[in-house]
């Protein structure tokens, strides 16, 4: 099984024969320890630190289907290097486009994404409800919005409902994490407090994980249904991320804060922006990876599958919907 590698430290990545060689730079910027990563072990690379590389490395990565995702100092996703598309399916592409341009087909799919997302985030709230946190009012309110989903007949309306659901959900967060943190409202670009910073970082990891999986299927990552297809974003990954954020990101936030794996002094505040310090980023990435590798017994496949693989299965279901084989049912945590 190929793995995702996260590069935090500055260094040089190069091709060495048929394997990858990583030379870390020390504080003076001088080459230090050398590590080797067998290419067949690498699924993709996430680059957070400054990386030196040349085109022969990218040719090598491209030939082996390894993508590289880049993030800036503030952990924003800035772009990806993707190998030449190796899975092209014209008929699927035509279908995907038609499902976007037809108002009825598009809204049917968009609604599924919101439904799946709402189901999974309610699951989180119910879990904490059963452990004595009082979030009953939030659950009721969200259920009210969910009941309205079938009557929304335009995508902006759905987005509005989705916004309300999220807002209600976030307003319950203060009851689920230690009292050191107050969520207030969701702020992005920049996130203004600790919870928002964690959430932005986690969502970004989730988005990239979805993109990586879409990339290994024939779906076109730029044609989306709930989110408006953007010219600068792989917006289909945003659609899929909606479904998986409650399981992959929100639960991670509760865990690292409640287990105090991350503490208030793991954040830096500067100029109205809150950023995770480097060791904290590593913690989040480690927990996120553990989560992606965690397996569940799949009901219909009768085999154990990892969370990461669940994202790919979601791509298969979407493909089947687009090819008019089987109606898409969003992933709903069944345990």
């Amino acid at each position: 099984m190929r793995k995702t590698y996260y590069l935090f430290n500055p260094g040089r990545l190069s091709r060495k024969d048929n394997t990858l060689q990583y030379t870390a730079y020390d504080e003076q910027g001088l080459p230090g320890q050398v590590k080797y990563l067998p290419i067949m072990d690498v699924a993709d690379l996430y680059v957070f630190g400054s990386l030196d590389a040349n085109s022969s490395l990218y040719n090598f990565l491209g030939k082996n289907g390894v993508s590289v995702h880049f993030f800036d100092y503030y952990e924003h996703y800035t772009g990806s290097f993707m190998a030449k598309e190796y899975l092209l399916a014209g008929k699927l592409q035509v279908q995907q486009t038609q499902h976007y341009t037809s108002k009825t087909k598009r809204i049917a799919l968009a609604r599924k994404f919101v439904e799946g997302s709402a189901f999974n985030l309610l699951k989180n709230l119910r879990y904490y409800q059963s452990r004595g946190r009082d979030v009953a009012a939030h659950i009721d309110q969200i259920e009210g919005y969910v009941a309205a989903l079938p009557f929304a007949n335009a995508v902006p309306e759905l987005m509005g409902l989705e916004g309300n659901i999220r807002q209600t959900y976030y307003s319950g967060f203060d009851r689920l994490v230690p009292t050191d943190y107050a969520f207030g409202t969701r702020t992005t670009q920049p996130p203004q407090n600790e919870l928002n910073a964690l959430m932005s970082f986690g969502n970004m990891l989730c988005y990239s994980a979805c993109l990586s999986q879409i990339y290994h299927t024939q779906l076109n990552p730029t044609i989306s249904f709930l989110h408006e297809p953007g010219t600068r974003r792989f917006s289909l990954a945003l659609d899929l991320a909606e479904i998986f954020k409650p399981l992959l990101v929100d639960r991670l936030i509760f865990r690292v804060l409640n287990k105090r794996e991350i503490r208030p002094n793991d954040f830096v505040q500067d100029l109205g922006r809150c950023v995770l310090k480097e060791p904290a980023k590593k913690t989040v990435v480690r927990v996120f990876e553990e989560r992606l590798k965690e397996t569940i017994q799949h009901r219909s496949l009768k085999r154990s599958v990892s969370y990461q693989h669940l994202i790919k299965l979601e791509c298969y279901k979407l493909t089947k919907h687009l090819m008019q084989m089987e109606e898409y049912k969003p992933f709903k945590a069944w345990w």
């Binding site: 008929k91 009901r299 299965l313 493909t319 008019q324």
Partner: protein, 169 residues
């Protein structure tokens, strides 16, 4: 008319749904360990195989090992599990060669891991059947043909499309 390859013929004898999906470029092989294993076997099974064997492209299909002097096709497979489809694939190669004017070609199906080989020949009955296979494959390739249902066979679990077909909810 779309091209028909030997892979189409092989899948036609395994699962029509697989053929339908494969024909629409919905490939799963890139994720399959079984396929990677087969490729490795192909590269390593007969290191001493002589130079006289050629790779031949014919009618949109590719024969990996063909000996033009003795007019013998060699085809390497991992296991006998889907032998019928392997035989069909070879018969299709033989038929293509005959159509191209090669006289009396023969074929050998090789299972190096089982240390077994099997000779395959084209019978008059096959010569009548093959055009029928091709007609049916063309039907499945048509845009109006919906995807055939899953076949629920025990070998589905080994197929690279298993998760695609049976993922359900």
């Amino acid at each position: 008319m779309r091209t028909i390859t030997a892979t189409h013929v092989k899948y036609y004898h395994v699962c029509h749904r697989k053929l339908w999906l494969f024909d629409r470029d919905l490939w799963m092989e890139h994720t399959s360990e079984a396929v990677a294993g087969g490729e490795l076997l192909h590269q390593t099974a007969y290191p001493q195989r002589a130079e006289r064997y050629k790779e031949v492209s014919i009618g949109g299909s590719k024969i990996d090992f063909y000996d033009p002097h003795r007019r013998v096709i060699h085809e390497i497979k991992t296991s006998q599990k889907l032998e019928e489809s392997h035989i069909a694939q070879l018969k299709y190669y033989l038929w293509l060669l005959e159509e191209a004017g090669v006289e009396g070609p023969t074929a050998l199906l090789e299972y190096p891991k089982l240390r077994q080989t099997l000779a395959v020949a084209l019978t008059p009955a096959d010569r009548a059947d093959i055009p029928q296979w091709l007609t049916r494959i063309q039907q499945l390739q048509s845009d109006n043909t919906p995807c055939p249902p899953t076949i629920n066979k025990p070998f589905c679990r080994q197929c690279s499309y298993y998760e695609f077909c049976y993922v359900g909810e």
